[in-house]
Symmetry: C2
């Protein structure tokens, strides 16, 4: 997640997403996020009258849009697009991020779901929406590669499952091997 | 996770694992866990002088052992064992738990990794150890089904990635469909 946000509001949302990636929802402190965003203290109440729930929901929304943009970026640069190539590009992107940041940050959606799926319905819904936003350009791309819509939806969900799970294992083991493994092992299913 | 722990110590560890499954590490309160375990207040310092880190690490260890025991249980009752059948049994087990508990609880290892992989090395190591403990009987079973050890290790890791990721999506969407999907889509790779 290498976007360069501009105003205070955008920076606060961005830094919240980064903290969700690092330590989940509960450990993400509002004052810390405002400090990281180099924003004035009052900006939190000004921009986010709904408090932490609103901020986390917006951070998840931002994350879903960011991930979807990355998918479109991968597709643009892709020579002879194939489902396995798209998945490999997504996996490589995450692997590079894990290595660059010393495994500091995972997926913000996983951070929200694990902490809040049972305790905060607004955050859970925002996480589900972010997954939908992310999955949509993948599904569309697979339809463009000749899959039926139904099959494309199955395969895009399979990609997200493989990626989310591999991120959990990779961060536990401080090793990107699980990411390479899912890219390699899912390839025949994706391209069948 | 339907074990029935006996003494105060075991009950505290068990209830900690359940809270990790529900809301991650940060939101798991020590007093709450002791109350859930119906244990005296002093028992925490008595049994866990290392504090929350020790308790969370032991809860992860317990969880890894529990998950490994479930794998062995699935194998015992399995007619004509095949990798895809073992994976389907694991997935069905988790699906039943999600439905029974209204999607309240996911995997405690994911709860620990997402919250603590970057902030608490002891917890991260305990999470990695729990994954190893869980993976071991799967790998052994796959070797027993004729896979080379190297291939068995790959496939057991693939199973855990698919399962962990599907749990994140299932809890986000309050739907066990992602679990059924990974069981079905990974089957040809697992049985190849």
């Amino acid at each position: 997640m290498r976007a360069a946000p501009r105003g205070h509001r955008e920076r606060i949302v961005y830094e919240t997403a980064q903290q969700l990636r690092r330590a989940g929802v509960t450990a993400t402190g509002l004052r810390h996020v405002v400090a990281l965003a180099d924003a004035p203290r009052g900006s939190l109440q000004h921009y986010f009258p709904g408090g932490k729930d609103q901020l986390v929901a917006e951070a998840l929304q931002w994350s879903g849009t960011w991930a979807a943009d990355r998918v479109r970026h991968h597709l643009e640069g892709m020579w002879q697009p194939r489902p396995s190539r798209l998945f490999a590009a997504m996996v490589d992107d995450w692997s590079a991020d894990l290595r660059t940041r010393d495994f500091e940050r995972g997926c913000p959606v996983a951070g929200a779901v694990v902490d809040c799926a049972d305790t905060n319905e607004a955050v859970r819904e925002a996480a589900a929406d972010a997954l939908d936003t992310w999955r949509e350009p993948i599904t569309e791309a697979l339809v463009g590669m000749g899959r039926t819509r139904r099959r494309a939806e199955t395969l895009s969900t399979l990609m997200l499952c493989g990626l989310e799970g591999a991120l959990v294992l990779a961060r536990a083991e401080r090793d990107t091997a699980p990411l390479r493994l899912v890219a390699r092992e899912l390839a025949p299913v994706l391209d069948a």
